[in-house]
Symmetry: C2
Subunit: 248 residues, 2 copies
Amino acid sequence: MLNERSLSFSHDCEDCPIRHRAVCARCDQAELERLEEIKYYRKFEAGQTVVWSGDRMDFVGSVVSGIATLTQTMEDGRTQMVGLLLPSDFVGRPGRDSAAYDVTATTDLVMCCFRKTPFENMMDQTPHIAQRLLEMTLDELDAAREWMLVLGRKTAREKIASLLSIIARRDASVATRAATHSIVFDLPLTREAMADYLGLTLETVSRQISALRKDGVIALEGKRHVTVPDMGRLLEEAGDDADGGVFA
Amino acid sequence: MLNERSLSFSHDCEDCPIRHRAVCARCDQAELERLEEIKYYRKFEAGQTVVWSGDRMDFVGSVVSGIATLTQTMEDGRTQMVGLLLPSDFVGRPGRDSAAYDVTATTDLVMCCFRKTPFENMMDQTPHIAQRLLEMTLDELDAAREWMLVLGRKTAREKIASLLSIIARRDASVATRAATHSIVFDLPLTREAMADYLGLTLETVSRQISALRKDGVIALEGKRHVTVPDMGRLLEEAGDDADGGVFA
DNA sequence: CGTATGTTTGATGAGTATCAATCTAGGTGG
DNA sequence: CCACCTAGATTGATACTCATCAAACATACG
């Protein structure tokens, strides 16, 4: 069923759901046409690996739908997630020929890929792409630094609240907010993936989620469906400035 | 005395010590001349703040000499270093008008600053600057992600060894290596700054440094001068692949 | 010589990892 | 259709790492 949905988008850049946010956001009509020539779509099922760290990588691309993760692994098996890729996020590094991280689909995933060499050539010729990529990379750097604070200084409870805040902020529909003042969303990650993101064990993740539930900060239906009755409260728990109680 | 040294570089881009590594690395003669018009130097003493997070920032720039840090602080005072700025590193974000982090000089510091608006205009017109900035930002993103693994998954001992490795790798003179097979350098950070970098307390940093000394992984003269007799051993302690024993 | 800043070392406790058992839901095959 | 199986999640008991609180030490500076 998810597969059906994945196929339901157009292959025409004009109608692309990430058209205005991805690396191609600033491209004009002519540039889009050049991109169309070097692009192709790839689909992955939940759990599949997109590339392994160290593998040769002859494409770069954008997440069209679904969620992927970037992870790093030590020899003894300890792993740390270093990036969470949402629709419109960019994968791969122009000028590098092998992957630096493991890239894994955590949900069914559709990617819009560009052959690397032609893409690199285009980057040199069309500033619109390089400009947008710079902007996106700077945003990712800010996100990574934000996450360094979480990893280095926050408690387990604060870490969970921080992760929930981030997901809530981007994932919750505006409609849901307006209606009930509650924010509702589905966790796109297993407890283990959350643990890898937060530098915790999955047991600690589970315990802290239970604790937040007991304390009324969140409500759960099943394992994945989360309701946040008071976003300000959640932000307080995350250790962020919760300022006004408004959901800004 | 350090001040004297700081002044001893030329103000001409041609002779600039970071000419080939900074954001201006790819600029041609004409572009350098345009940059000269909008650039100015600023000096800071060790301990001084360059900008506070949230402050208006009307310049961007490069570290010419000395070391600065980027730090984030929570309301209750917990702080996490999110970047270590070495000569040639870039400060500030084009397109943003306030600082996102506290920037502090940890040694005497000289910066080559560009007025922000003219610099942004130049970026739009000369791809060489934007290209180089993209490359540098991608490198910083990789470094930040590497650091996320350190913060999230490494033990205190491994964290210290990782930090020493990084400093050793960039700071040790080649001469020193060839001669004795030992690597020698000075720590540019206080124990407290190291703790803020590593997500530890300064006491833990002190203890782990003492432990590494007792175990012969490093030797110390005074508090800051470090000798690494066997770089491979240090890399093992850091939890990185130490492969061959060669100092590659 | 005295003060300030940075560092080391010690004693104790909190927070999280680890090991282990149990529970739940979804999917499979009899 | 039900029993079983599996992956994911929860909960419990215990151990260990690192934070916290506290005191002493070192070095530079006035």
